[in-house]
Each structure stands twice: as structure tokens, then as C-alpha cells.
Symmetry: C2
């Protein structure tokens, strides 16, 4: 009988309680022993709730109990999550978390402590919700070298962009609908400005490089500048606008970016719509793999956390393999990345003069401006040229062959 504690009885924490209760038999078979939830830490009480008699208000109760071998952190945010997790690891308890901020900011430190203590620090739910992407990369594709990952990693943005694409909505209206339907926070900045997606690609980049990637080093552009007009052009092109987070790793060099991209119908993520997440990875042996599933939501996220709990229980005595160290790797200068660019300009002649060859794009119902697709060029070259042109909006176009 393995005993665990859940820190934070919000959406994900209560989901973990539900999944480990509902699927107690599966978890027990796979873990090799039953998994009992001994404590749930929360500031609140939950009278009448199934977790009622597990609730404690003091972390010290959990940290001091030698019976607790695994701690589930589902509080979110940096503090007190970081302190609690660190102390749990130091107390020799494995930790499973859904907290991407924590993993991104303190991953290398916490992994190092876990290694020293011979326990596990697991975070399948921190990227892609229920999609077993971390386990696929680290436990399944063990004889591959992953050289490319690109993903739709934020369900809120994908929902908004899908609404804009399918219903011609403006950004603000789609955001409001997402908020009304519970798919976006009242303060949506972390999602719509791309920071959430960027943290997730930083985690995935850390996994494939086995080095510490700081999300603040990754160029990040959100979706709040995408308009219904952009989608009118996209439709004309048979494309969609998707917020993609990409990382490529070759010859020891990392490239990474989070930005809206125009995605064509033959892109493997083209049909990943609504709140669904999708991850496309390329390995030097396995080739292309695509994973799709719920990137958020109570039970899918809890499923991923619960599978970490099973893993932590099952492997509690095995020596821990560090996933990434504290050696830092910074992405190459984004100025070197090569794309084609869709641009909307007021002055077509000026744009042609500056950019040379431009492919015009017309969109129904749009007037007083001109849409073009540039030739392939580096971001540096694009930025140099675009300074001389009055650009209404620019959207990168997914390269035919990953990030060049």
C-alpha cells in the first residue's frame, strides 16, 4: 500500500482524487500495490466531499509523515509550490506535478534534488495535458534522437483561433466566448500572449537537449494581434492561423520560437482544432509522430498526474535518471530563422520596391490594403526590410521542412 498526499484540491487536485478512486484497480495493478490518498492539503474544508476526511491545512503534517512516499502538487504558481515541492523531495518523497511554471522555472534544481534523494520528480501533465508526450519522448523513443518538436500547446488560444477561423469572429469576441465557456481565464494574458505555450516548449526543449532552457530566452509572440482580416486571407490560401511552439535541435544548436503561424492543409497539425492540443515530433529513426488529445481539463490532466503517481510508486526504489541538468542552452538568434512571411500593407508599390518578389493574396471583403507572401528569408532580413514598409500585420508561414 503506497500512501500519497495531494497538495491543492482545486480542479486538477480533485481530478487526481477522482481518477485514483475511480480507477483504483488499474492504478494498483500497474503500480504493483494499491495507492491510497492519505492527505489532501488545502486551506479550505470540503464538508460532504469524498475528500473531506483527508483534508489537512498544514504541510508539516505531510512532510513529517514517513508513510507518505509520493506528493502530488496541483496548487499551481511558483510559491508556495516551489518550497513545498523542494521540501517534499528533500524529505525523500517523490513529487508529481501539473505545474508548468514550477517545472520551467525550477526543473533542473528539483530534478537534481530528486536524483540525490533517489526519488522521482515527474510532470507529464505540465505539457499537453493528458497527452503522454513526456513519457513518449523519455520512455518510449529511447533509441531515437528527437531533432524537432512543434506543438499546439495552449487550448485557450487554439479555441479562440478555431472560432475566428470557422466563424469569422474578431479576436475580442472569440476571447469573450472562450471566457464565457470557461476555456479562458478572466485574466487571459498568460495564454493569449503565448507565455504558457512558451513555458511548455521550454520544457520540451529541455527534454530533447537535456539542458536547461529558459523560456525567457525564447522569442514569444501571442495571438492578440490576429484579426478576422488575417483569417479572411488565410481562408483564401486554404490555411489556418495556429499558435505554434517549435524547437529544433541539431548539431548541438537549439532553435525555438512561439508565434502564430499560417499553417497549410498538409501540415500535420492543421486539423488540431478547438481546445485540443497537438504535438508533432520528429526523431532520426522513427520519423514523424503526431499526438493529439485534451491539453487541459480536469480528468485528462488528472490522468497524466495519476500515471506519474503510478510511475513514482512502481519505480520508487530504482535509481533515478536525470532528465536535464543545470547546464544552460540558449536558442540561436531568432534573426537567423528562415520563413516566408504573409504581410498586409497599405502601400503595395512600396512593399514591392522593398521586398522585390511578392506573391499577392486577395481576400473577399477586404479593401484599402494589400496582402502578400514574401520569398523565403531570415527574420533579420525581414526586419531590416519591413522597417521601410508600413506593415499592418505579419504572420510567419510554417516552413515546408521544419524550422530552417
Amino acid at each position: 500500500m503506497a500512501k500519497i498526499a495531494i497538495l491543492g484540491y482545486g480542479t486538477v487536485g480533485s481530478g487526481v482524487f477522482e481518477v485514483l478512486t475511480m480507477n483504483a484497480d488499474s492504478a494498483a495493478v500497474n503500480a504493483g500495490e494499491p495507492v491510497e490518498i492519505k492527505y489532501v492539503l488545502d486551506l479550505r474544508d470540503f464538508p460532504g466531499d469524498p475528500a473531506e476526511d483527508k483534508i489537512v491545512h498544514d504541510i508539516e503534517v505531510i512532510l513529517a509523515d514517513p508513510e507518505v512516499s509520493v506528493v502530488v502538487e496541483t496548487m499551481g504558481g511558483n510559491e508556495p509550490a516551489h518550497t513545498f515541492v523542494k521540501r517534499a523531495l528533500e524529505a525523500g518523497k517523490s513529487v508529481c506535478t501539473s505545474n508548468k511554471n514550477l517545472v520551467e522555472a525550477y526543473g533542473s534544481e528539483l530534478l537534481q534534488i530528486a536524483k540525490e534523494k533517489k526519488v522521482r520528480f515527474l510532470f507529464e501533465a505540465a505539457v499537453g495535458g493528458g497527452i503522454p508526450i513526456i513519457r513518449s519522448i523519455k520512455d518510449a523513443l529511447t533509441a531515437d534522437k528527437i531533432d524537432f518538436i512543434t506543438g499546439i500547446l495552449n487550448g485557450t488560444c487554439n479555441y479562440i483561433l478555431t472560432k475566428m477561423s470557422q466563424e469569422g469572429m474578431e479576436f475580442e469576441d472569440a476571447l469573450k466566448q472562450a471566457q464565457d465557456n470557461g476555456f479562458a481565464e478572466r485574466d487571459p494574458a498568460a495564454d493569449i500572449e503565448g507565455h504558457d505555450s512558451c513555458r511548455k516548449i521550454a520544457i520540451l526543449a529541455s527534454l530533447i537537449t537535456e539542458k536547461n532552457v529558459d523560456f525567457e530566452d525564447i522569442t514569444t509572440i501571442g495571438i492578440s494581434n490576429i484579426s478576422a482580416s488575417d483569417f479572411a486571407y488565410a481562408k483564401e490560401l486554404g490555411m489556418k492561423v495556429k499558435l505554434l511552439s517549435s524547437a529544433s535541435y541539431k548539431d548541438g544548436k537549439l532553435r525555438a520560437i512561439t508565434a502564430p503561424f499560417l499553417v497549410s492543409g498538409d501540415n500535420r497539425l492543421f486539423n488540431v482544432d478547438d481546445v485540443i492540443n497537438g504535438v508533432w515530433i520528429h526523431g532520426n529513426a522513427v520519423g514523424d509522430l503526431v499526438f493529439q488529445g485534451a491539453g487541459a481539463g480536469k480528468l485528462p490532466t488528472a490522468s497524466a498526474v495519476s500515471s506519474d503517481v503510478v510511475d513514482a510508486v512502481k519505480n520508487n526504489d530504482t535509481v533515478y535518471k536525470l532528465l536535464w541538468g543545470d547546464e544552460k542552452i540558449s536558442p540561436e538568434d531568432v534573426g537567423d530563422y528562415i520563413f516566408r512571411y504573409f504581410i498586409r500593407v497599405k502601400d503595395a508599390d512600396k512593399a514591392k520596391e522593398v521586398f522585390g518578389n511578392l506573391t499577392p493574396v486577395e481576400a473577399a471583403g477586404i479593401s484599402g490594403e494589400h496582402g502578400f507572401i514574401t520569398d523565403v528569408m531570415s527574420e533579420r532580413e525581414f526586419n531590416e526590410k519591413s522597417g521601410a514598409v508600413d506593415i499592418i500585420n505579419m504572420i510567419r508561414i510554417t516552413p515546408d521542412t521544419k524550422i530552417n
Copy 2:
């Protein structure tokens, strides 16, 4: 240093050699020690080949060598693969295989021997090629109950059906092109008659039920009766014809079928085209997950086998968890499964008289016959009714909610 032997130096076997050489560093890190290929068993010699000095012609050399801890079986077919694998397991060596016939026919026996000998019998490559579907089900979704799997599991059929869909080809022409391009065998029966797909869904059904599912108990219909005319109607409906292999498992009852289905644009496998495989699974916590990747091919298949080798080396000392026992489970009678059916008939009046409500489907360029979609009904009811109607062809339509 773990030492392994590869049985059969064909496409997959030489791929494993290549992957474990090319990615020796990744494999060593993940396995916890370097993996050395000590022997390659083949009847032939390979002068000048990188494996030249590893070649042996006698299985006894491998079985008698206590240094060999893992045996890779990439010969295919039932014999001598079955005898060699059984003897390797009995000799205390883990076995990793890409051989779906072997796994489907002898899985429960070989898993039992592996358990007794505390070694591993692994077969990630037997289903979905490079897609880590078995590992996702058994090692990742450990706190879920998988109640539904449907997949496009045969790249040859998918290639043929894609050509027919995109280019309006007839079956025979698409098959010939697949053969010319190396995507279909000269004797294509196992692929086009659905037996290969059926073996794979039998394996997946065994995994989710943890019981022994015999592929011969699963209703299997191939694609050789699908014609360009069927695709003309499909196009009109915004659908494609895909060979799907499905299993659902609820309340201890298994339903399973391999057959061509009309698939609509909102189906998660609609865009899985060409030789790509796709697997859609549903868990009671994680919800829907979709995996796509190369279902065959030298390196993708070898990637999956090689990841099994890493797993076998890494976990060689752990007690083995049996994946399914010898208790048998047979699918429910297919007569109880409920679908809508697309039918083509000569006599529209007779069809209406027998089936009652029918939705007509017209297709450009098709005359002298009539296309209809029936109401939802069981296969039994459909078969009873269709006996009185001269049906040119029938294709099931994917139900909106899995197999009912």
C-alpha cells in the same frame, strides 16, 4: 555492457542494427549501459556489410551464450520464429519482436514463459510500426481504463485507399501502384483482405482486456471490393473510405471488427492518409487521444524494436508484469453491432420497400444504380433485410459514438 543478438537480417533486422549503431549514445544513456550487438543470425552472409563479422548461421551459438541477455526477433512468420523465441525466453533471455503473427498467435504463451523466467517479451513494433502505442497504453495510461481503440493499422491498405480517394483510381490500379512503389507485397492478400489489421487489433484488444483475443474470432472484411464508384459517392458525402480496426471494451464485453468504413471529416482519423497509421484511443479519464506515425518502414519499425531493447536492458532485473493471460475472451456477436450503412442498389423501389427510410446519395458520373444511407440498425437486421435486395456494395459508416 549489454549484449544482444538479432535473429533475421532483413529490412527490420538490419534497421535495428542501423538504429542501435547510429543512436548508440541515446540507447546507452536510456538503458543505463551500452548495448552491443554480438550476433546477427541469418542464413546468408553479408560480405562488406557493417554486420559482416557478427553473422552466425546457427541459433545454438546464441542460445548457448550466457552473455546474450536480449534477443531481437525480426524474421517474421510463425516458424522458426516461434521455436527460437520460446527457446530464447526459456534460456532466460528477454525477447523483442516486430512479428505480429507471432505475438497474436503465441502471445499469451510467450508472455507466460517470460513471466516465469523473469525476463521480458516486448513487441512495440508489432502494432503501428514506430508509433509508441503499446507503451502508451501499458506504461503511460496506467491510471486509465481504455474502453475504445480504433485504428488505421495497415499502411498498404491506407495507401491504396488514399490513391483511390485522391485520384479516382480503381482498386486494382491502386494496388499495382502500391506494389510498384514497394508499399504492397507481390502477394498482397494478408494486407488487402484485412488479416494484418485484424491481427493488430487482436493484439490491442488483448492489451486492453488483459485476456487472449484470437484474431480468427474477429469479423474481418478487406478492401478488395471497394471501387472507384464507392469513392465517387464518398466524395459527394465529404467522406473517405478507410480500413478501420476497432475494439471497444465495456462491462466485461468486447466488441471488435476490421472492415472498410465511410469516415466523415470530423472523425479523428479522417486525415490519416497514405502509408501513415493512426490510432485513436479513449480512456475513461484521459478522454480521446490520437497517435499518428509511420506504421511500417525500416527505421520507424526498427526504432520501436530498439526502444524495446532499451527497455529489456534497463528493466532486466525487475519482476515482469504480464500483459495478458491465457484466459480467452471472444468478441460479442457482430450481429449486435449497430451502424448506418451506405448501400448501392439496382432497384431503388425494392430497397425502399425493404429498408423503409433511406437517405439518397447521388454521385457524379454514376448511373444505372442508386446510392442510399440506411437508418441506424444492427448488422443482424441489416443482413436480414439486405437478403431481399440486390445490393451492389455495402460500406458501414463510422458511428458518431464509437461502436454502439
